[in-house]
């Protein structure tokens, strides 16, 4: 993993609050989770990110106690969770389907987990009211789940899971069932509630945007294996593998061979680009190594004139153009027939007429040596 400065909101390193140690889970021949070790700090908002079938939900279910690891150990707040049933764990879960009890009112749903807690009726009512306040559902306390909208149900589920004041809150695709506008609003709300309550949140998601806005740190999972753990910046700007680079955001990736290593830079010959790419100096690199060079589309500048003094400049022709409002995506064809994706912000108003280039236009592309990501695996 590439070492970088820690995310400002990441807590001080100490003994992790949740320790997942060499945990594997197999279903018959299928390895759902393969030797995963993760440490999650107290009060952290941690995301497990991956495509479907990557093992993230299985890992979450093992934290909740619904599934037992085939091998390995899970500790929460220093306590070994082996053999501890879900109802005895200091953990609550917000289900992807919300799993609200259809025969109970919002109030009863939120208060359900408090039934078995040692507290007076007044305290219990107080807590329910507090939770409903937190998610702004007090006026709907008497409604049944089917009388609520999707966003309201999501908030009931969140309030219900928080009511017991668990040490850890597990969220399975918390925004999955909401429409785009509501998602944006809700993800900040969740981060806000996490900040207010100080509870450790573990979020499972397949949506990288959701993971990046919500989480302090992200574990990128693929085929049961954790590929990289890091802050949003780390996994986006400094991916450690082609898998992570390709999964998070869009990227241009080309195979190349290291041609020259100096104190200042690394030169990689990339046949598909028809040029040698200049990148920053990298101690891992040796001349002759086969590596992958990756560049994010927004890191590439597009212009009509040849840029002065650019280390990496390429000529090409716009083949495709997508207008997204705030930015445009250009697909530029190089003389080598390679297509390169380039994102450019539409800083000036006026749409087509103010765009840098049109279909079929000859353009120049350039990127800084520091923008080239060198991947060895």
């Amino acid at each position: 993993m590439t070492a970088t400065t820690p995310h400002p909101s990441a807590p001080e390193p100490k003994a992790p609050f949740i320790r997942i140690e060499a945990v594997s889970k197999t279903f018959g021949d299928f390895v759902a989770v393969d030797n995963v070790s993760i440490g999650i700090e107290k009060g952290e908002l941690f995301a497990l990110l991956g495509g479907s079938g990557c093992g993230k939900t299985t890992l979450l279910r093992m934290l909740a106690g619904f599934d037992a690891p085939t091998s390995g150990k899970i500790f929460i707040d220093g306590q070994d969770m082996a053999g501890v049933p879900p109802y005895d764990r200091p953990v609550n879960m917000m289900f992807q389907s919300y799993a609200l009890f259809p025969h109970m009112t919002v109030e009863k749903n939120v208060g359900y987990g408090l039934k078995h807690d040692q507290m007076s009726d007044a305290e219990r009512q107080d807590r329910v009211r507090q939770m409903l306040d937190l998610v702004q559902l007090t006026p709907l306390a008497g409604r049944k789940p089917h009388q609520l909208s999707g966003g309201q149900r999501q908030r009931v589920a969140l309030a219900r899971a928080l009511a017991k004041q668990p040490k850890v809150l597990l969220l399975d695709e918390p925004l999955g069932a909401l429409d785009k506008k509501l998602r944006e609003h809700t993800q900040f709300e969740i981060a806000n509630i996490q900040y207010k309550t100080g509870i450790t949140f573990v979020v499972v998601t397949h949506d990288q945007e959701e993971a990046m806005t919500l989480a302090c740190r992200i574990a990128v999972m693929d085929k049961g294996i954790v590929r990289q753990i890091g802050t949003a910046t780390e996994v986006y700007e400094y991916p450690n593998s082609t898998m992570v680079a390709g999964f998070i955001g869009s990227i241009n990736m080309f195979e190349g061979e290291v041609a020259q290593c100096t104190e200042e830079s690394t030169i990689i010959s990339v046949p598909k680009l028809g040029m040698a790419v200049a990148a920053k100096a990298d101690r891992r690199m040796q001349p002759g190594m086969k590596i992958t060079v990756a560049v994010r589309p927004e890191k590439i500048a597009i212009s009509r004139e040849k840029p002065e003094g650019a280390a990496n400049a390429l000529a090409g022709q716009v083949q495709d153009l997508g207008y997204f409002g705030k930015d445009s995506l250009y697909r530029v064809k190089l003389p080598t027939d390679t297509l390169l994706s380039v994102n450019s912000v539409n800083a000036r108003r006026g749409g087509e007429n103010e765009r840098v280039a049109q279909w079929e236009d000859k353009v120049w592309l350039s990127f800084d040596p520091s923008s080239a990501i060198l991947l060895t695996e």
Binding site: G65, F66, A99, L100, Y112, H146
Partner: protein
């Protein structure tokens, strides 16, 4: 016409025009009218007639009002009929409760086993229907007889736990209400299991996990989540057992106590032995009304539940 252009709407257009659609919709109503409503009216009419030495053995009064309500008056006054009604309801209620207590765990188990086992077990629930009902009741007569292994085994088991000087040689099972309830439970159990299974199978297991997650132990989860959500299944199964059980004729006739008959047997005796068709009809009408009210309550409950479901979408 546009509907003639495309083949599908053309077909449905033809279907509407030629009256096939009306015929299709009318079929169940015609069926119900001819084979339920008309016979029912005949039975109601008969219950208001008097017996007569002719065929069929009833006649209406010669003069106004042509009908009389004496049969219904006799029904409520005669101890035999009242007791038969009470015995029927008592036996049917006990059989229903026992079917529920036996059938609920079985239905729940069916939803929890893996799919391969599930189809085998469902098959086993339905399998008894492949043998004649009468044959199965006769088999029970054999089983309950004082010389059967079943009776001997049960006797030995009970003798083993009770004090030695209370010991008895065999249990009198045939010709008792106990036998009626036992055979009814056996016969109607699938009618409890199947609707319960259909209901429980649809329940979202995530709800159980959510309740577990919120600190409820498995028994609490069952009481708080599964049981309340399976009430429609319990009602459906309960009615499917209670209604036929309360009018049951064959089981009490074959294994029941003749001096304490159920209402089905009374109707049968009035029709055949006593040849008092008007009285038999009056009993049948009274029974029907007693059973129709719980049925209507259920329909009302279902309609409300469905309206609630719709409001949720």
């Amino acid at each position: 016409m546009a509907s003639d252009v495309t083949p599908v709407s053309g077909l449905s257009g033809w279907f509407n025009r030629t009256g096939w659609r009306s015929l299709l919709i009318a079929t169940p109503y015609v069926w119900l009218f001819a084979f339920f409503f008309v016979p029912f009216i005949i039975v109601v009419a008969m219950s208001l007639a008097i017996t007569a030495g002719q065929s069929p053995p009833f006649a209406f009064l010669d003069s106004w009002p042509y009908i009389r309500f004496d049969n219904f008056a006799r029904l409520s006054g005669d101890d035999l009929f009242v007791r038969a009604f009470l015995t029927s309801i008592y036996n049917a209620a006990i059989a229903t409760v026992l079917c529920l207590l036996l059938g609920y765990p079985m239905a729940l188990c069916l939803t929890r086993v893996n799919p391969a086992w599930r189809s085998v077990l469902l098959m086993l629930v339905i399998l008894p229907f492949w043998t004649s009902f009468l044959l199965r009741v006769y088999a029970w007569i054999g089983l309950m007889g004082t010389h059967s292994w079943f009776n001997k085994g049960l006797t030995a088991a009970i003798n083993a736990v009770i004090p030695a000087d209370w010991a008895f040689a065999s249990i009198q099972m045939t010709n008792t209400n106990f036998a009626v309830v036992l055979v009814m439970v056996y016969s109607y159990l699938p009618f409890m299991i199947l609707p319960l299974y259909a209901n429980l199978e649809k329940l979202d297991f995530t709800l159980n996990e959510a309740a577990l997650d919120l600190g409820s132990r498995p028994w609490d989860v069952f009481r708080d989540i599964t049981l309340p959500l399976s009430v429609p299944g319990i009602i459906a199964g309960g009615l499917l057992v209670f209604i036929p059980a309360s009018g049951e004729l064959i089981i009490p006739s074959l294994v029941g106590n003749a001096s304490d008959p159920m209402i089905g047997r009374v109707i049968n005796d009035q029709f055949s032995a006593a040849r008092d068709w008007p009285m038999a009809s009056a009993v049948a009408v009274a029974l029907l009304f007693m059973l129709v009210f719980p049925m209507m309550a259920y329909t009302h409950f279902e309609a409300k539940a469905q309206a609630r479901g719709k409001a949720g979408q």
